[in-house]
């Protein structure tokens, strides 16, 4: 409680606003996970928390420690960059696994395996015939 008392007013208010925005977006994402009906809708919801939810809180931490220490504190950027880089990897792997499992079980509400390549292409066959 005492360490925040010598913070200038603009920095305290900016940190408070950014923290509230970040936590609110994360809560919205969690409510989205709760509300959506299918997995492929649900997989979109937590990206609210991983994009600007993380971004706002990381920015708030950077502003807070930079103003408090009177020097630029930028190591929180590491967390932001890491979350930004890894979330698409995780969610795409998970969505592919879910698609694979749905196809293996024969669910009708996912697209079939290869809709584009069901008719053999004529030019490929000609090239193979030569």
């Amino acid at each position: 409680m005492s360490h925040a008392a010598d913070l200038p007013a603009w920095a305290a208010l900016l940190t408070a606003a950014l923290v509230l925005v970040g936590a609110g977006l994360t809560l919205l994402g969690a409510i989205g996970i709760l509300q959506f009906n299918s997995f492929f809708e649900r997989v979109h919801a937590p990206t609210l928390g991983t994009s600007w939810g993380t971004g706002a809180i990381v920015l708030a931490s950077m502003v807070f420690f930079s103003v408090l220490g009177a020097r630029p504190v930028l190591h929180e950027l590491l967390i932001g960059a890491f979350i930004t880089a890894t979330t698409p990897v995780t969610l795409m792997l998970l969505a592919r696994a879910a698609l694979y499992r749905d196809r293996a079980e024969g669910n009708e509400n996912v697209p079939p395996r290869s809709t584009l390549r069901q008719t053999p292409r004529a030019d490929v066959q000609d090239a193979a015939g030569d």
């Binding site: 940190t15 994402g29 709760l34 792997l93």
Partner: protein, 93 residues
């Protein structure tokens, strides 16, 4: 005065993050299939990481940053391992 506003904002933000984790836990327990549970576990890792970061702002100590970084790294690795397991049935082939 503004320090009080900041402390209240952090308190409310932590309550919001705990509520987010509660929503994720509900879906984790109820979730109809395994991929829903893995998705919720990943979202819970992110919420816990943000909770640790706000704890760092609240106490003014930089040691929480390292805990948050470790939580982020472990969350990524475990989610990828679980997704791989759902896809293939084994993690290391």
């Amino acid at each position: 005065m503004t320090a009080d506003i900041l402390m209240w904002a952090i308190w409310i933000a932590q309550a919001m993050l705990v509520a987010a984790m509660a929503c994720n836990t509900y879906r984790l327990i109820r979730g109809p299939r395994a991929q829903d549970r893995v998705l919720c576990l990943d979202a819970m890792y992110v919420a816990a990481m943000l909770l640790v970061l706000t704890m760092g702002i609240r106490t003014g100590s930089a040691i929480y940053f390292e805990a948050a970084l470790i939580i982020a790294v472990l969350g990524f690795v475990s989610s990828v391992a679980l997704a791989k397991f759902l896809m293939r049935g084994e993690v290391i082939e």
